[in-house]
Symmetry: C2
Subunit: 125 residues, 2 copies
């Protein structure tokens, strides 16, 4: 029962869902190494396609994500991680609780919801 990393250049989508509230917080990609790191440490670690290296979510902001449950799907080519958020209870680097803060309305994606934090104060940019 192995994960199937063959389809997308060694990367599979990893969906992060809040274990208590059930909202989808973000999606990243994992390779085998990121998956192993996530299991070993108990904190969500992705493979960053832009930086081309492992990326433990929250390593800069402190908003780490503690693994509560790890699942895979029928084809074993995606991961669902249920987590407990640490820190500011916000997954998104733009300061929102969830990265999915844009909703399709009348033919366009429109921002909704309120920021939990100001990105400038957390990332200094």
């Amino acid at each position: 029962m192995e994960l199937d990393f063959a389809k997308t250049e060694g990367l599979i989508p990893a969906i992060v869902q809040d274990a208590a509230q059930g909202d989808v917080l973000m999606v990243g990609f994992m390779n085998q190494e990121a998956f192993d790191h996530t299991v070993r440490t108990g904190f969500v670690t992705f493979y960053s396609r832009s930086r081309q290296k492992l990326w433990t979510k929250g390593e800069t902001s402190g908003n780490r994500m503690k693994v509560v449950r790890l699942r895979t799907d029928c084809d074993q080519d995606s991961i669902l991680v249920e987590v407990e958020m640490e820190g500011l209870q916000a997954a998104c680097h733009e300061g929102f609780r969830s990265c999915f803060f844009r909703e399709w309305q009348d033919g366009a994606f429109t921002e909704f919801g309120e920021r939990v934090f100001d990105p400038k104060t957390v990332y200094g940019k």
Copy 2:
């Protein structure tokens, strides 16, 4: 405010979540055409990487997924679709409600949950 299909050969992950119960049902990939088709018809349509064509979920089984809400994330390179399931209330071609019916336990993925339907009777195989 356009979706960013550039990163993964024109495909972005599309996560399907039950609008009422909040469980994550499956993940597929969409290209621009699949997204447009989903919006136009109101039913979830993916791009099948194995068959290399559009694939409206449920076209064979009748278990279509009606779009309730469509969201995108901060980088606009993934989609979250909240749906109402039609038919047998099962997303997975293996007969489970959710494709995520395997959970990581003691170093391996283990099946849990019960099938909603027998794939043989639905797909005839």
